[in-house]
Symmetry: C2
Subunit: 350 residues, 2 copies
């Protein structure tokens, strides 16, 4: 198959983990006889440096006409306090591509039990997926402004349609898995959560096989630590999804392991690791490339329907972890830390 991929390496460790990921995709290309056309474009801090705009129009255009988009990470102290913020590039590309459903799988990797903060018994059978609403809520609601020097306001707004489409994606996903959906809200305080709950209950009627449960966000934050294996699919609004999915990353032992897919109704998907740009280790060949590489695997599966190819990558990741090649963030032994490049080598070799 021929596929056009727009690649947005971004800032910090973004370019390093992207480089490794492209090597893995090259290996997939030759093993499975595909052709991936890769076009690199600026976003975030480097785009500000180059063009004064964290999301130049050319980047948007290129993304829109490709089959899928891979994104590294954006941001860093270099752009702190500037009027243009790298994160604006990220938020705007999500909006431009209308990728309203952010899918973040969280699985415990057996060999990493030694570095995970939770007791090993709690990690068994953890295999959950967040479906986070990504283009609405308090991230985008208006007004969102400073009034004079003394007041500030943000707006958590949802239209029923925005909730319906992401909740539907979550039900479809749950129906294809363990048929359990947990919807997280704060309906005892927020009006938007009451609407959210209504939409979930209405949608549930069309998926009688899926068991639905509502959970308050404070309780969910607790249950993810207490007993993460209770969850299958978790659907929630933008900000709660941001907080809870980062929290849950600790189940895998490191944010560096987590992949994500951001999906729209029709257009290209956006695939990015959950971790940030980690400016403190940027350029030192120390970043964990697995979150980015597993995001590319999600791209192969979701956007290109290349299941064998995605399986091959995921299996190779398991093997590399079994063989104990680990970057610093997931290493339990200071004397045996692999570099980004070494982990990529090992992966390609498998």
């Amino acid at each position: 198959m021929e596929k056009a991929i727009t690649v947005l390496p971004g800032d910090g460790i973004g370019p390093e983990v992207m480089k490794g990921t492209l090597r893995v995709l090259k290996a997939i290309e030759s093993r499975f006889h595909h052709r991936f056309t890769v076009t690199e474009m600026p976003i975030g801090g480097n785009a500000i440096d180059e063009t004064g705009n964290p999301l130049p129009p050319e980047t948007i255009e290129q993304c829109k006409k490709s089959d899928a988009v891979l994104l590294g990470a954006v941001g860093g102290p270099k752009w702190d306090g500037m009027e243009q913020r790298p994160e604006q590039g990220l938020l705007r590309i999500r909006k431009e591509l209308n990728v309203f459903a952010n899918v973040r799988p969280v699985k415990a990797f057996g060999p990493l039990a030694d570095i995970a903060p939770l007791k090993p018994a709690l990690l068994e059978n953890v295999d959950l997926v967040f479906v986070r609403e990504l283009t609405g809520g308090i991230y985008f609601g208006q007004p969102k402004e400073r009034k004079g020097s003394d007041e500030a306001v943000d707006t958590l707004y949802y239209h029923r349609k925005e909730i319906e489409r992401v909740v539907k994606k979550a039900f479809v996903l749950a129906a294809s898995r363990k048929k359990k959906l947990t919807s997280v809200d704060k309906a005892n305080v927020l009006e938007s959560s009451k609407l959210w709950r209504e939409v979930v209950d209405e949608t549930a009627k069309h998926y009688p096989d899926v068991k639905v449960e509502h959970m308050l966000v404070d309780n969910a934050a607790m249950q993810l630590v207490r007993n993460p294996a209770q969850f299958d699919v978790i659907v929630t609004e933008n900000m709660f999804g941001d907080i809870l999915s980062d929290e849950a990353s600790m189940i895998t032992g490191s944010l560096g392991m987590l992949a994500s897919a951001s999906l729209s109704e029709e257009g290209p998907g956006l695939y990015e690791p959950v971790h940030g740009s980690a400016p403190d280790i940027a350029g030192t060949n120390a970043a964990n490339p697995l979150g980015m590489i597993l995001s590319a695997a999600m791209m192969l599966r979701h956007s290109f329907h290349m299941n064998d190819e995605a399986d091959a990558i995921e299996l190779a990741v398991q093997e590399v972890l079994n063989a104990n090649f680990r970057t610093g963030d997931i290493s339990s032994n200071k004397d045996k830390v692999s570099t980004t490049d070494q982990v990529v080598e090992q992966l390609i070799y498998r």
Copy 2:
């Protein structure tokens, strides 16, 4: 000393844990020669049943003229879908008493390491305190409404003054402890967080001894699991504080262990456990009374300056845990579960 305490048992397990707490306070009265005048008033679901109002004016009045207020818990499925919600009683009493600073200490209890989800090594030296803004933010901002059947909006609003007073309390607390303050926000997305960060930085100038750090809420949710011992005092806005403090309760092993003090500038403090009304076990003598009892200890310390008395209670709690008297929520052995009353007996006996 003579002190007037208004007691709001509330719903679910509220009355049970309150009963046990009042017995402990009786024991303190006689051992230390104080006189506590206790007046019981309705709040939440039971107040709706009695008066149609989750916070009757008589309750407010009685609270305002007392030296401190003890609250059990409110809510339950009985009042689901009603127009009047028990939680409204809780939110309104906080507002009426202007208790803008909610102080929630989180300590690992040594004997409970067996039931805590985190690995024991991570629990050593955990001794942190949340200072959660409690009377502002998205809980109270206007508009907060449903527009027709398709749209809903909540408003996250802060005035500089609201931030200043709670941040100041957090600095004072940090200065009296390990001199480290972590301010949690989402300044890369929220305007209100940018104002929050400004106020923290300005206030910091008056407390040169306190080391200040800013942390994004998604990262904080992760760090609380990854390495909770890194924190001393954490200050944050209302909703983030709600989510993160419940998450952090897992460090102690159970929400049932956590106490809180809600403080105003001048008026009576409001003391309540962090747990909810647990309707599933209400009336079965199974609730953990320690969160409520430790909240009473906070009342003695903060509102009445009775440090020896508070110490006595906290020490007794340690001893009861050491002696392995535990309610179901913190028990590791199904064959040795104590009732609420048994735990209270053991405490009083010490």
